[in-house]
């Protein structure tokens, strides 16, 4: 086995397949609640694809349908060219899943968790043992091999969950909020490992409500809000299409903000007053900052920054991603 982390032999089929995932008019309802309301998207082989949106937007429900664990209510869905309704087990055999919550067996050790998971895939024990060595090295848990899972840190459990999801050498890896709750160091380690997987040809599908995560990981993403897709593109495209290149953030003392906003009129393409600050969308934030001063305004703070996906989301929905 030359590269244990690369997708298994099934990956070769992907060349002939137009899309790893194809969804049209996909709907998920739980009783009266419509969690996913007619979404369309397609994911190409080797792509890192993201679902960005706040909690409750329908990202996880979409992921669970793709993972062939939650039945589709209506619409068309194909994963690895197959129908989850009739070939769920075949799809799942070729998928890796990192769920939102850790679902490790905390009474067992690190390596036992990989062993039992590999057995669910009917992998021979010798193969599992070999992959365990490589996967634990990959997620930097080799020295924890015989530790019980319970006392491990959140970041270690997350990495173990990622290692576990790779035991069957999946062609497609589904990650539901892979770094939620992790400290910055742990997040960067996870991102780095996911980037390496992508380099090896694994298709990644990620949900997140962190715009920095989406920017770090995703070639292309859809923005979801209230069960629908509200925008689609690469992070750069989305920023270009919906907001300006740069943003000027101005803070005024609360009683002065309203008057100040009135005097910013015509300064830039768009001025967005938020409760605690004013966002000025412009292609040249330094220039705009200078003009603010020229107009005789005295903000308590001035920040010049690049536009982010957070601005896109705010623009599209009028709300922040993380509330």
């Amino acid at each position: 086995m030359s590269d244990p982390l690369a997708p298994g032999p099934g990956a070769g089929h992907l060349v002939a397949e137009p899309a790893v995932i194809e969804a049209r008019g996909l709907v998920k309802r739980f009783g009266d609640l419509t969690a996913v309301d007619g979404v369309d998207f397609a994911v190409a082989p080797g792509e890192a694809f993201g679902f960005l949106g706040p909690n409750g937007a329908g990202k996880s429900s979409t992921m669970r349908m793709i993972g062939a664990v939650s039945p589709v209510t209506a619409g068309h869905l194909r994963v690895l060219g197959r129908d989850p309704a009739t070939e769920g087990d075949v799809i799942r055999a070729r998928l890796g899943v990192v769920p939102q919550e850790d679902t490790l067996d905390t009474e067992l050790t690190v390596e036992e968790n990989l062993l039992i998971y590999g057995r669910y895939f009917d992998l021979p024990r010798a193969v599992i043992r070999e992959r365990t060595d490589e996967l634990l090295a990959f997620v930097q848990l080799t020295d924890r091999r015989r530790s019980r899972v319970e006392p491990l840190s959140g970041g270690m459990k997350r990495r173990l969950t990622i290692a576990r999801s790779l035991i069957n050498q999946p062609e497609l890896l589904l990650l539901d909020e892979p770094t939620t709750g992790l400290d910055p160091q742990a997040r960067h380690l996870v991102w780095d490992r996911l980037y390496r997987l992508k380099q090896r040809g694994v298709t990644l599908v990620v949900t997140t409500h962190y715009m920095d995560e989406a920017e770090q990981l995703c070639d292309r993403l859809v923005v979801m809000d209230q069960a629908r897709i509200v925008a689609e593109g690469s992070p750069r495209e989305l920023i270009a299409a919906h907001v300006s290149r740069e943003v000027l953030e101005l803070r005024f003392s609360p009683d002065e903000q309203q008057e100040a906003v009135a005097r910013l009129d015509g300064l830039a393409k768009r001025v967005e007053p938020l409760p605690d600050r004013v966002l000025v969308y412009t292609d040249d934030a330094d220039r705009a900052a200078a003009e603010v001063t020229e107009r005789g305004l005295l903000p308590t703070s001035v920040v010049v920054r690049r536009a982010t996906l957070e601005d896109v989301f705010l623009r599209l929905t009028g709300r922040s991603l993380v509330e």
């Binding site: 799942r92 009474e107 057995r119 669910y120 895939f121």
Partner: protein
């Protein structure tokens, strides 16, 4: 290629290898204590009184031992089919992890039952040997009783696992042990023939799988005729197992596939 339900069974067995020490006390020590206290302590009194006549000629210890075997199988099954289900669905969510693999909710349900069967065979075998050492059971006939005792346990395991799959927390399980398992342990003919019960309660005992299980196990261990034809006892236990097996598959699917 191993059937998915059998892989689930294997995973349970691997988990058990790590955790068996923690439940060895409830599995073996408790029944042995009952055997000593009731069989040898109380039994001496019973045998001095009119006991042997009421117990169809045998001594109390010989009467008690197979009953205890069946009742222990019931208790072990109740524990194994309930708390692990809560752990898989809610506490550790390991069932959700398994569902991301080719394993289905039904496989999880049936794998649990398969494992419970294996565990009951092991538990009742060990318990039988322990009882034989105390002279409470005669070998090799006593070993035959492992089968009806395991069947008794399974007649409980399947419906209990189905019940557990519908629960949101473990209060329902504590109630089940308190109000169902413990009374059945005491009043299913384990410690005394149900003929000793008030007449209006006696027919209720016929409805419980545990009475049928105790009768069948005792008759097998002692080589005597059971209260009803053996086939009726077996059929009644199999009915509970069969209905429970269907229910647990549905229960797991309803709870886990959403």
């Amino acid at each position: 290629m191993v059937a998915p339900a059998l892989r689930v069974m294997e995973v349970h067995a691997r988990g058990y290898r790590r955790t068996w020490r923690s439940n060895v006390v409830t599995t073996f020590l408790n029944p042995v204590l009952f055997l000593l206290a009731m069989g040898m302590g109380l039994g001496t009194l019973v045998d001095r009184g009119g006991g042997p006549a009421a117990l169809a000629g045998g001594d109390y210890l010989a009467f008690l031992a197979p009953g205890l075997l069946a009742a222990t199988a019931m208790q072990t099954a109740a524990g194994d089919a309930s708390f692990p289900v809560m752990a898989g669905m809610k506490w550790m969510k390991t069932y959700h992890a398994a569902l991301a693999t080719p394993v289905s909710a039904r496989d999880l349900a049936h794998g649990l039952l398969a494992w419970t069967t294996v565990r009951l065979l092991m538990t009742t075998a060990v318990f039988t040997i322990v009882m034989a050492i105390f002279g409470a059971l005669s070998l090799p006939r006593g070993l035959l009783a492992i089968l009806p005792a395991t069947l008794t346990g399974m007649a409980f395991a399947a419906p209990i696992a189905a019940y557990a799959s519908g629960l949101e927390n473990d209060y329902g399980l504590s109630s089940m042990f308190r109000f169902v398992i413990v009374p059945l342990f005491l009043f299913s003919g384990t410690f005394f023939p149900i003929g000793q019960l008030p007449d209006w309660i006696e027919p209720l005992a016929y409805l419980t799988p545990s009475w049928h299980g105790v009768e069948l196990t005792r008759a097998t261990a002692l080589g005597t005729a059971p209260a009803w034809p053996a086939a009726v006892h077996v059929a009644y236990l199999v009915l509970w197992l069969a209905v429970g097996t269907v229910a647990v598959g549905r229960g797991f699917s309803r709870r886990l596939v959403r």
